[in-house]
Subunit: 357 residues, 2 copies
Amino acid sequence: MPELRRDPVVGYWTIISTERGRRPVEYRPRQSQSETHECPFCEGYEAMTTTEITSIRRSGTKKDAPGWEVRTILSKVPILSNLKPQIDRYGIGLYDVMDGVGQHEIIIESPKHKHDLDELSIPEIEKVVRMYVSRFTELERDDRFEYSLLFKNHGHVSGAPQDIVRHSRSQLISMPVTPKRIKEELLSCKMHFEKHQRCVFCDILRQERKEDSRIVAENDSFFCFCPFASRSPFEMWIVPKKHAADFGRLPESDFAGFAEILKTSLAKLRILLEDPPFNFILHTAPYRHSSIESRWQGLEHYYHWFLQISPRMTRSAGFEWGTGIHINPTPPEDAAYLLRQVDGHPHPQEHSHAPVS
Amino acid sequence: MPELRRDPVVGYWTIISTERGRRPVEYRPRQSQSETHECPFCEGYEAMTTTEITSIRRSGTKKDAPGWEVRTILSKVPILSNLKPQIDRYGIGLYDVMDGVGQHEIIIESPKHKHDLDELSIPEIEKVVRMYVSRFTELERDDRFEYSLLFKNHGHVSGAPQDIVRHSRSQLISMPVTPKRIKEELLSCKMHFEKHQRCVFCDILRQERKEDSRIVAENDSFFCFCPFASRSPFEMWIVPKKHAADFGRLPESDFAGFAEILKTSLAKLRILLEDPPFNFILHTAPYRHSSIESRWQGLEHYYHWFLQISPRMTRSAGFEWGTGIHINPTPPEDAAYLLRQVDGHPHPQEHSHAPVS
């Protein structure tokens, strides 16, 4: 069972694998393996993975067998363990510890051996979005979990050793704490709301539309732009135009719109930067935020979910690590200008992006 | 002039190089260059660097000429610019901007082409420590600066492109804001002090001594241990035993002790992990913290400076980026045990580390 340990100085949590500590020799760079033809995430190789949690599949086909379109499994190397039904929390003097309970799922986005999410069609990505939303709401029922983090590691620099398998997938980790970064956002958004009676993200969207210098793409329901203080070159945020705090409550009518803007944004990134490594991370409301005793009560008014896409073009060094201040050599205005030039939607019939007014 | 831009959601600052945005093509991996014999940081090659700011050198030798032992120059690729005598700060709607004013110095630790700080003798490292302290106090006089960050990027993964030159050096960046990470530490330490009337670091040292499972090394004045919630495998903190908030006030009588523990800790790391990439970062008090109007007044009681040494053995991916929660596969107890076994001080006459009682 991994442990969650809290730093007594600043209060960050770290996940410590106490069972099987990695020895120094295990950190040495491994021989780079060539990709095998037996990708465990491809249709027909279901037996190579853990048991299916759920899938979107053709009727009449069976669990853990071909016929699926999107498939969710447990990670073989989970960051947190779902083995314990409840969570022990205790102190050791100054230090706080908690069982590393959680659920770490892999969402395989296509039965075909695709490397990029944006290679899929909009209806296919729509099914991936449907799966995201259904996992969010399903895991909300588990009382042990306070937050679910949906993210993607794409390409070598951005991720884990298993990235050697180039099959497009996302990860979802449900955990017993709300991450510090999300808490900070919630607190800041609350303060902005208390002062102005407005959501800060809605304010940002208004200002971005007015300034018209950092917009990358938009459709009826979503807006994609490079944020003013972009921490990485070509960083993009996809934000719903209509105020909404909780990704898990995304209405079905918005699935296609989200799929479309996701495809467009990722395609632009891939084409402009020649398939760069990137991460995307969904920032959304923690679970049970609207209950009366929750410290986040009222969050539906002041918080606004968004997807952060961060290309990994630069390496962070001592300065970033020590200060939290990132150095971005490409101003977001330049990044957005270049991304706008790229046709992220190379299907003639879908070529109808209205210019931003 | 670089810009410091503030994110309106959480409030982090980003340094944006607005003058000469890097274009996509410039992010492509470069040909790895082989090391040349003309290292600009070696004695005799002073003309290859910017003008010397200061140095510790043999009497009778001249500025920008051989004869130095530790030499400080301005960075050729400064993160912040020292060209403007004052700092403009302004808002653009929701967004805050500040001139990226600062001073970015390189401290060359040896005239010889050494790769590692721990290859130097203790008297040599003592001179490096003397240079650190003198730069801290010198830069404190500049009213534009609120904080000086001293750090080191060692090895390829940990740092910047210029790491291709394997000549041991540190960097010091003075800046007009106190980094968010340091502010968080100061606030937490203040809260701990208000509650307990004790410094949290002094409490940590007491508990580490008692638990005796994460100690790496100690001498009369300093303690080196793997912190309880280590964010990276083999992370170490060097902490002065006697409460002190401000590295710039390090008494001369402690220079040798700090040099000794630094050499020991870095040597242990290098030997155990075969010269891993690492960063070290000094956490210390911001400038002018004791003035009456300062929000950090009284900090000398509640804050405690320390040096954080973070080997870069793992790559951070979407999960760490999204949550701020790091995953550490080596428990700090195992790391400290392994580091203790290594002789970090292979000079017989100095072999007198008392066991921790």
